[in-house]
């Protein structure tokens, strides 16, 4: 058995004239948690679907849990838990009925016990008779996760699982993920949230179907070659428009009550900000760029959304 949970090369998929994924390679060791990032329409969902046998790649090869992704999709389906981006359980079934359906669909033994355990673990006990359609976003997401891990998969593929979920529920969700990972589960999760990306062992950044950055968070930041200055002070937001577009400044963003001014050419960046640094009332600090700075930079370099 290979130590890689996912080992694919050259994955390519087109829908009509649009190339959704082109030549994507992922080699992911077992037991890790990887983040899959990229702007909307970058091919994250398509890649995940190809990994679990929901879409047939136009080109490419490889294995998922040691099974060939082209020939063995039936076996892959049995050992992979896939959580769809949109809630895809039956809204006219209760929580319990949904879980029972999954248990039967995977021909799991000890159905009642398993369903009881799953409900217990997720703290859904008092709501198990409630129709899934009546649940809020956070509870739906909990149900979906419970259903995805009911058959004790070896690999979890999660497609933007925390979209539209409140911060507390997101934190609980990630505690679950880390807990499952400690039990030996491999998790590949796509997300738009930087804090979630920072919770991953490694990240893969995909834009317009191509992998453009990969590694640990530190590696991705370092390899970006980006320099970032943080500007603090009363009314610092007013500087945003003045700084934007100056030669040497690649982008300016206001978040966390401070202004992030970034550029890839350190010298050019310093020249561009020199006059502004003389302004009174603002503190300028040179810092490591955050993951968000790096992603905004990556997105801008890839151009506008081509879809």
């Amino acid at each position: 058995m290979t130590a890689l949970a996912i080992d694919v090369r050259g994955l390519t998929k087109s829908f009509g004239p649009t190339r959704a994924v082109s030549d994507v390679a992922i080699a992911m060791p077992k037991g890790q948690v990887w983040g899959f990032l990229g702007p909307n329409g970058s091919g994250k969902t398509t890649t995940l679907r190809m990994l679990c046998g929901l879409l047939k790649p136009d080109a490419g090869e490889g294995t998922c849990l040691g099974y060939d992704i082209l020939a063995d999709s039936a076996r892959i389906k049995r050992e992979v838990g896939y959580m769809t981006q949109k809630f895809s359980f039956w809204e006219d079934l209760s929580i319990r009925e949904n879980l029972e359906f999954v248990a039967r669909a995977y021909s799991l033994g000890r159905m009642n016990q398993r369903v009881d355990e799953a409900i217990e673990r997720l703290g859904l006990g008092h709501r198990q008779r409630q129709l899934a359609g009546a649940l809020s976003g956070g509870w739906k997401q909990r149900l979906a996760l419970a259903a995805c891990i009911l058959h004790e998969p070896k690999l979890l593929l999660l497609d933007e699982p925390t979209a539209g979920v409140d911060p507390q529920a997101r934190r609980d969700f990630w505690d679950q993920i880390h807990h499952l990972s400690a039990e030996g589960l491999t998790v590949l999760v796509s997300t738009h949230y930087m804090d979630e990306a920072e919770r991953c062992d490694r990240i893969v950044y995909i834009a317009y179907g191509n992998v453009v950055a990969r590694g640990t968070v530190q590696e991705v930041i370092t390899s970006s070659g980006l320099e970032t200055w943080i500007v603090e002070g009363e009314g610092v937001r007013q500087l945003l428009t003045e700084l934007s577009g100056k030669p040497g400044i690649d982008h300016v963003a206001y978040f966390g009550a401070v202004l992030h001014v970034s550029g890839r050419d350190a010298a050019a960046l310093e020249r561009a900000i020199a006059t502004f640094r003389a302004l009174p009332g603002f503190t300028w600090t040179k810092t490591r760029p955050s993951l968000e700075d790096v992603f905004i930079d990556l997105m801008q370099r890839q151009g506008a959304d081509k879809r």
Partner: protein
Amino acid sequence: MIRWLQRTWAVLIKEFIQMRRDRLTFAMLIGIPIVQLTLFGYAINTDPKNLPAAVHIIEESRFSRTLLSALRNTGYFEFTHIVTTEAEGAKLLKEGTVAFVVTVPAGFERRLLRGEAPQILIEADASDPSAASNALAAIAQLPATVFARDLSEAGASPVATVPVDAVIHRSFNPEGISAYNIVPGLLGVILTMTMVLITALAVTREIERGTMENLLAMPITPGQVMMGKIIPYIFVGYIQVMVILIAARFLFHVPMIGSLTLLSGVLALFIAVNLAVGFTISTLARNQLQAMQMTFFFFLPSILLSGFMFPFRGMPVWAQYIGEALPLTHFLRLVRGILLKGAGPLETAPHVWPLLLMLTLVTLLAMNRYRRTLD
């Protein structure tokens, strides 16, 4: 094998629960038969011509030949079979191969020459009274002069009175009551409409709501989904059948001569064909609206060309060919045959095999079309 059943069972339970929750649809399924029965209770009369007839001539003569050509000239009769025994004629009539059996008895010529009005026997399949009535009326109006030339050539004096005494037997529905024909037909029409529509929607709904992605990510095969989705609606189909049969018996007093066991066997087959058609539609449609439209595309010819609304034999040949390809056409012949004529397994066989063939073909198509991936 156990796993196969288990997965089918999974889908089946899910469908039952969903059906129970969707109260309006369930009410429609039971309400449709009642409403349609009241609406269509009595109906439609038309004037089909060239109905197939068998002729049983016991004593060949120039007069019998003249009689046949006179009948042919009314435009209603087309003699397709010549039989030599009474039983043979009765069998053709029961199978529905012919609509009439005309018997010219022994001594026909002799009695005619003697100036007596000899009898001829016309047995009509009156299970579809509108199809038979005009033809029968035409016989009564055979001109008195039909045999004039033959008689003078034979040297006998032409008679002024009616030359023959046509004895008419309306088999299977002696009083010619339309409801006897319409109500069993409605059984087929209602089953076609609800069964096709409900399965067409059942699968399309999964696609529309996005749950299909989930279903496909699970180790459930197309066959399991199909079985699991079809079986609950077979039950619904039988509930509809009971409603209609009870109404037929007590509201319309339709005779039920044949075996109800045979009927329920035939019903199972017919329901299965319709469900398979619905499942096929659902693999072609992208959303529930499309599924609905396709269902009606299938439903309209089923009503118009199957012999439910208009007598089958009144249609041009090309339309009859289309009719033969519809499950409802064969089912109508079966249900009328069993209920009104008391047809047994032997007489039903000619219409059972086309249904079996359709079931096989449609199921194969559905399994082939069902997408295992989201492509």
